[in-house]
């Protein structure tokens, strides 16, 4: 309940207020948003009685009267202030969003090849309808997915990245989503659409950070990624929000023939995190690789649900998620792989490894394989373990103190995923971030 209202009604009211604020000016996204609202209203928020939400209760989110940030300014955030979030030195374009709204003053674009569109979603909806309309809202389904539906209904701003056929975008594009409480609990619905044309290549990094005095925030982003035939898209998510933030994200990628989608999903922050990451291998020879790292301490709850859909033959998928859980943290991994009847010669591999550092930390890990073709290679494996006594003893017998030995082994566990991150600035930045949590471990070079 939010006050005396059902949470669903609270958000329906927010929608009505926003529609009223548009002053009746209809844009072409109106039917999309209206349809999404109906899907949200029909589904309602999930409960733990539903299989997909069995281990993750959204009650903490539903108890807070979140509202969108009405300020169209940048909440007093300066360029200097966000420098700590930009993983310098890193030669890339930075688009900064504050509570879901694009902030041109805080952003800077490096020069891009002709025809490449990197702009706010609001601007793209207004000026590039031909590029946006074929894809917006058509990749991420809303039926039975209330959070995605709500994000689509509340569509206002975010990022659009459009790459023409055969263009390779040099350098990376960083979408920095800053949430900052503004007078009251703030909800933001960032929306990202990436459309990579045939044979093109682009790398996009989405960071989620909290800024300013701690306060309740609810970040509910949706990213849609279209990977054209023979195209390659890298998508990185670095979630490092504060401990009063709830983060419920949807990412859906659709990969065309011989296309490739790489996803690196790192969850470090937030009190409650739920990522639903879906990859549809819709063309023959498509491939995807999903790497993930989640770290939970204190009372954090982090839930990663992934889904890889092998629709066509000769597609390959590699999934490697690692979790580190300490304190009373709770981790959830649910990895679904569907192999449709036509998807012969599918090659799918899934691995989930969890490191539990305390007696009270918990993880639920579950692979879900639905295989309907008969000529496939599909492997999966999950482990849950503690630091190896033998390894700890070996390090201590070589004069390394117990705390440092533990931290070295924890860092070694995480480094397997970090070393799979191509972008040096991100990898180095994450190593430093993680080191500051474990000061007696290995200090990476360049860390303060």
């Amino acid at each position: 309940m939010i006050g005396s209202r059902e949470p669903r009604d609270h958000y329906l009211e927010i929608f009505r207020a926003r529609e009223a604020a548009r002053g009746g000016a209809r844009d072409w996204t109106a039917p999309l948003r209206r349809g999404a609202l109906d899907a949200f209203a029909a589904a309602g928020f999930p409960t733990t009685r539903q299989e997909a939400w069995r281990h993750t209760s959204v009650a903490p989110i539903l108890a807070v009267p979140f509202g969108p940030d009405g300020d169209t300014g940048r909440n007093g955030i300066t360029r200097e202030a966000i420098e700590r979030y930009t993983f310098e030195p890193w030669d890339c374009s930075h688009l900064v969003f504050v509570n879901g709204r694009f902030s041109p003053a805080l952003s800077r674009l490096r020069p891009l090849p002709e025809g490449v569109v990197v702009t706010s979603l609001a601007e793209a909806v207004a000026k590039h309808r031909d590029l946006v309309e074929p894809h917006l809202g058509r990749i991420a389904a809303t039926e039975g997915r209330p959070f995605t539906a709500l994000n689509t209904a509340m569509l206002a701003d975010g990022a659009f990245i459009g790459v023409p056929d055969r263009v390779v975008v040099p350098g990376d594009i960083h979408l920095l989503h800053v949430s900052t409480p503004h007078g009251g609990p703030v909800v933001s619905w960032p929306r990202t659409l990436v459309v990579a044309g045939t044979g093109s290549q682009v790398a996009v990094v989405e960071s989620f950070v909290s800024h300013g005095a701690p306060g309740p925030c609810f970040t509910s982003p949706v990213s849609e990624v279209v990977v054209g035939d023979g195209a390659g898209v890298e998508h990185y998510r670095i979630q490092r929000e504060g401990d009063k933030t709830s983060h419920v994200a949807g990412i859906v990628a659709r990969v065309g023939r011989n296309g490739s989608f790489g996803s690196w999903n790192v969850s470090l922050g937030g009190a409650l995190t739920r990522n639903d990451l879906e990859c549809v291998l819709g063309g023959e020879g498509a491939q995807c690789r999903l790497d993930g790292l989640y770290v939970g301490t204190g009372t954090q709850h982090v839930d990663n649900h992934t889904s890889i859909d092998h629709v066509r033959p000769h597609c390959s998928s590699q999934e490697f998620y690692k979790g580190v859980l300490d304190g009373h943290a709770r981790g959830v991994f649910d990895g679904r792989i569907i192999v449709r009847p036509d998807a012969q010669k599918t090659d799918a591999h899934q691995v989930n490894r969890n490191l539990i550092l305390s007696e009270d930390a918990l993880v639920d890990t579950k692979p879900q394989l639905e295989i309907f073709a008969d000529d496939v290679k599909c492997t999966h494996g999950a482990t849950v373990g503690q630091l190896e006594d033998d390894a700890l003893f070996y390090l201590r017998s070589r004069a390394i103190g117990l705390e440092m030995a533990r931290n070295l082994l924890i860092q070694a566990f995480m480094s397997e995923i970090l070393h799979r991150i191509r972008i040096d600035a991100i990898r180095a930045g994450l190593e430093c971030l993680l080191y500051t949590r474990m000061p007696h471990g290995h200090r990476p070079e360049g860390c303060v």
């Binding site: 190896e388 033998d390 390894a391 003893f393 070996y394 390090l395 201590r396 017998s397 070589r398 004069a399 390394i400 103190g401 117990l402 440092m404 030995a405 070295l408 082994l409 860092q411 070694a412 566990f413 480094s415 397997e416 290995h442």
Partner: protein
Amino acid sequence: MLEIRDLHANAGGKEILRGINLSVRPGEVHAIMGPNGSGKSTLANVLAGREAVEVTRGEVLYRGRNLLALSPEERAWEGIFLAFQYPVEIPGVSTLYLLKAGVNAIRKHRGEPEFDAIEFMALVKEKLKLVEMDPAFLNRSVNEGFSGGEKKRNEILQMAVLDPALAILDETDSGLDIDALRVVANGVNALRDGRRSMLVITHYQRLLNYIVPDKVHVLSQGRIALSGDRTLALDLEKKGYAWVENHDGGDRATAP
């Protein structure tokens, strides 16, 4: 250097060591031999500080201090090194990193300045030659993908770098062919300097042809059944461990 008095210890719920008495002076190399189950590895683990081993009686004095009161890292700081029989693999931690962290921890404990990366590399490169190892091994994860011989050589490299006062070599020869054995033994011998003591634990006499001990002790059923000089090892090879069991409790002089 090392005084073991009436040491009794349990492992896996069973009593393994049943009254070990041993005295090692600085610079001496003692061999500990014995059949499987006699307690050789348990003895090594007690000295290194393995929690899985429970000491029930007796004491161990290292340079006059109660060794059993020290944690594994404290023992390393005090100059004790154990070369493992089965060195564990540690993915994600390089040998170079391990050694630098260890050396600097020891130096810090002694109030000596820590080595920087360049100083340390110079030190390590010297020691690599002792065990005929390629510098490329330093950047690999500790023991990951190493052959048996490479793992044992890595143990001796670590010993050379960490420069212990008392080294315990737990069946360093197990699983090695003649060539690997020769390299490992050369490394160990190069580290004999008249001040460093060693406990060489082995099942077979062969290693002792290369690492010639000052004294040989034979373990049987948790006790030292016989002690003598290096010729005892040769006798053992001829007569087998059963011969020892029939002469439990003796010094060499009293065995027929």
